[in-house]
């Protein structure tokens, strides 16, 4: 176990004029740790994810990340080349809408192979072989390798997006509501797949979700956000079974038991 955090956020804030996106968020994330960020829409959880993934600059605060060579870097002081390396290799980003995370006019195999080529793989046979292997791991039939994602169902697209992200063996994956918008049975399959891959690959994950059942199944730790602030944080089962804040108690008690 490495005792230094992989990612450290301190006092992270984002203001849009007078409106608060998120305010003074601080946490550490370790390798192999799955952190769920929960809250209702408008709570600031997606803003937080965008800040962490360096898609938007913060108004205040910092994020530090331990690179593969062990050097700890300020994410908002990276060169463009370093940032590209992180986005293409060391990080993944699984988006709610697979159309934003995939290239819809490129074949399934091409979607997976593209990230490999970005890290320097040139051998066509090896790229295709790896792509085929990853399609199998996300339970997509190998004979769909040359098909376009637009011909895939919602669940298949989401699984393809996961393969595209994991093929470069990232250490950190951001996930933004990866299961919402899918049928319940499709959700269960995707969650089971994610749970297995995350444990097998020892991934660190920051997953934004409004679904407490998803948080319970996938995450070790949870942060509850409201009005841009983190109002409660701790072990996932502790926060869900013994919530201390009024808002968290409301969230937990609002879930319908099936």
């Amino acid at each position: 176990m490495n005792h230094a955090p992989l990612l450290t956020a301190r006092g992270l804030s984002k203001h849009y004029g007078p409106r608060i996106g998120c305010e003074a968020v601080s946490f550490d994330l370790y390798e192999g740790e799955v952190l769920a960020v929960v809250g209702e829409s408008g709570s600031g959880k997606s803003t937080l994810l965008k800040l962490l993934a360096t898609e938007t600059p913060p108004t205040a605060g910092s994020v530090h990340y331990r690179m593969r060579d062990g050097a700890v870097r300020d994410l908002f002081a990276l060169t463009e080349a370093e940032r590209r390396f992180l986005l293409r290799t060391d990080w993944g980003f699984v988006r709610q809408d697979a159309r934003e995370g995939l290239r819809m006019s490129v074949s399934a195999g091409g979607n997976v192979g593209e990230r490999l080529m970005a890290v320097g793989e040139r051998h066509y046979g090896r790229i295709r072989g790896t792509a085929l292997d990853w399609l199998g791991r996300v339970e997509i039939d190998g004979d769909r390798i040359d098909d376009l994602p637009r011909d895939f169902s919602g669940g298949m697209r989401q699984r393809l997006q996961i393969a595209r992200n994991l093929v470069t063996h990232p250490r950190l994956v951001f996930m933004d509501e990866p299961t919402s918008g899918l049928d319940v049975s499709v959700q269960a399959r995707l969650l089971d797949l994610l749970r297995g891959l995350v444990a097998e690959l020892g991934l660190a994950v920051i997953i934004v979700t409004h679904d407490l059942a998803v948080a319970r199944l996938l995450s070790h730790r949870i942060m509850v956000m409201r009005h841009g602030r983190v109002i409660e944080t701790g072990l996932t089962d502790q926060v869900l079974d013994d919530p201390s804040e009024a808002y968290t108690q409301l969230l937990v008690s609002s879930v319908l038991a099936a």
């Binding site: 370790y30 072990l235 502790q238 079974d241 013994d242 108690q249 409301l250």
Partner: protein, 235 residues
């Protein structure tokens, strides 16, 4: 005398129900006891005395308001009441296990995989984990034709026995048992008693709740009366 594996000192807990105008429910007050290797401490007292809450607090599932919950991890003593989430997760992986009567079913994972994966978590090799899973499912009379199926469709009793197998499969020095034998038939109760005896002989410390007097008398080295701690309810 060997050092305790778990030791509670002055532990108190209450729930504040914000959705009920901040009503406070006191669960336990000033609880102190310890369990040593090879010892089974049974929590006694009426329903509502806070027995399950104490087990959940030791496991880090419920927060502890005051007091210390010292769990021994090798040479190190960890206070669960104040430990970081990742420290508690490490304790759960290597030191303490929790068994209730309810199985949280995960779609698509077979009964045998559930039990074997649980055994592997505590460090057993793949081969040993499978052997142990097969032995436990056999002992607990889970029919072999069910082993490769996810337990979602099993009867309540079958799910309960898979859950016991899962809970007892790993080698962990501290076991928290929350009425694992409730509603089991006599034959399966006897199996659980035998498995608990095996764990004690192997040096595990056990803190448990058993409503069944027959089971309690067989496994308990000591009974800690929770009613003695639960002062002034509903303050």
């Amino acid at each position: 005398m060997t050092e305790p594996l778990v030791s509670l000192t002055g532990v108190a807990k209450s729930f504040t129900l914000h959705l009920r105008d901040g009503m406070r429910i006191r669960v336990v007050d000033n609880v102190s006891f310890a369990a040593r290797p090879g010892e089974c401490v049974v929590l006694g007292g009426p329903s509502g005395a806070g027995k399950s809450s104490i087990l959940k607090m030791i496991y880090g599932n419920y927060r502890c308001d005051t007091g210390t919950i010292a769990v021994r991890d090798g040479e190190e003593i960890v206070d669960v009441a104040k430990a970081e989430p990742r420290r508690i997760l490490a304790l759960r992986a290597h030191v303490m296990g929790y068994v209730s009567q309810f199985l949280r079913v995960i779609p698509r994972v077979s009964a045998l995989d559930i039990v074997a994966a649980s055994a592997a978590e505590s460090g057993l090799s793949r081969q040993d984990a499978w052997c142990r899973a097969e032995r436990l499912l056999t002992l607990l009379n889970v029919p072999e034709r069910l082993w490769s199926l996810p337990p979602g469709t099993f009867s309540g009793g079958e799910q309960q026995r898979v859950n016991i197998a899962r809970g007892l499969a790993p080698d962990r020095p501290l076991l928290l048992l929350d009425e694992p034998t409730a509603s089991l038939d006599a034959a399966n109760r006897a199996v659980v008693v035998r498995l608990i005896e095996e764990k004690k002989k192997a040096g595990a410390a056990i803190v448990g709740i058993f409503h069944d007097e027959d089971v309690r008398d067989k496994v308990a080295d000591r009974v800690v009366d929770m009613a003695a701690f639960a002062t002034e309810k509903a303050a």
